[in-house]
């Protein structure tokens, strides 16, 4: 039985899920910032996943990263499994631009989150989700 960490739940919107991972949108409109959370209880590190799950996570991460690169044309992607505050295994994918307020530093702890307006979330969802393969949007099941 997998349960999303309450802090991740509070800080994000659930866009849907790949076969292994939930796809979350961080509620900070400063950066396009997506998070994959493998739906496996008790995992803290990538190496703790079963080998098949490691490969599935890699595939979902690369698919998401390539899609963000195509859609947004960022200067760089930042992909990270940190978890010092929320140890439940989650993999950040942040599209970075030379014009963003934290560049070239990492985004964590740089500036207070700027919550999305509902219309912005819907617009992002409508652009991103049709590009994702093997993906079940939230509310579609």
């Amino acid at each position: 039985m997998f349960t999303l960490d309450p802090r991740l739940h509070a800080d994000t919107f659930v866009l849907g899920r790949f076969p292994l991972s939930l796809l979350l949108l961080m509620n900070d409109s400063t950066y396009p910032w997506l998070i994959l959370v493998p739906q496996r209880e008790g995992m803290r590190e990538i190496f703790e996943l079963a080998p098949a799950d490691q490969q599935q996570l890699l595939g979902e991460s690369c698919h998401l990263a390539a899609t963000l690169a195509t859609l947004l044309r960022p200067d760089k992607l930042n992909i990270a499994a940190l978890g010092n505050v929320v140890p439940q295994l989650h993999l950040h994918h942040v599209a970075r631009f030379r014009s963003d307020p934290a560049w070239p530093a990492p985004v964590w702890g740089k500036s207070p989150a700027v919550p999305y307006r509902r219309a912005e979330i819907e617009a992002f969802r409508e652009r991103l989700i049709p590009l994702l393969a093997d993906f079940t949007p939230a509310g579609a099941d």
Copy 2:
């Protein structure tokens, strides 16, 4: 022909190599901080690697992470591909402790690097390298 980025070269010691990646030790004794650099010219993002190289990098990363976990018993591992400053694809592996000076923030940009003394590097090398599989230490070929 693969060439290590000059800034990565300047900031690290080359410990050796796995079949795909160079293994670097960041010259900052504040944190146990290792870096994998796939020896493929022109790569900036994990998804740009050929699928077989993606899987090899995943395997090398998980092996390194599990080895650091066994050796050092950190509170958390931080694994990240950022590259805003040095775009050559490289994957950070930092063993984090609640007692380290940046906790719980990420390590980047937190405090000036504290260079290793030579004896410290040798001691770390002697503890880590015997635990690594499919690894060629620097100077051994």
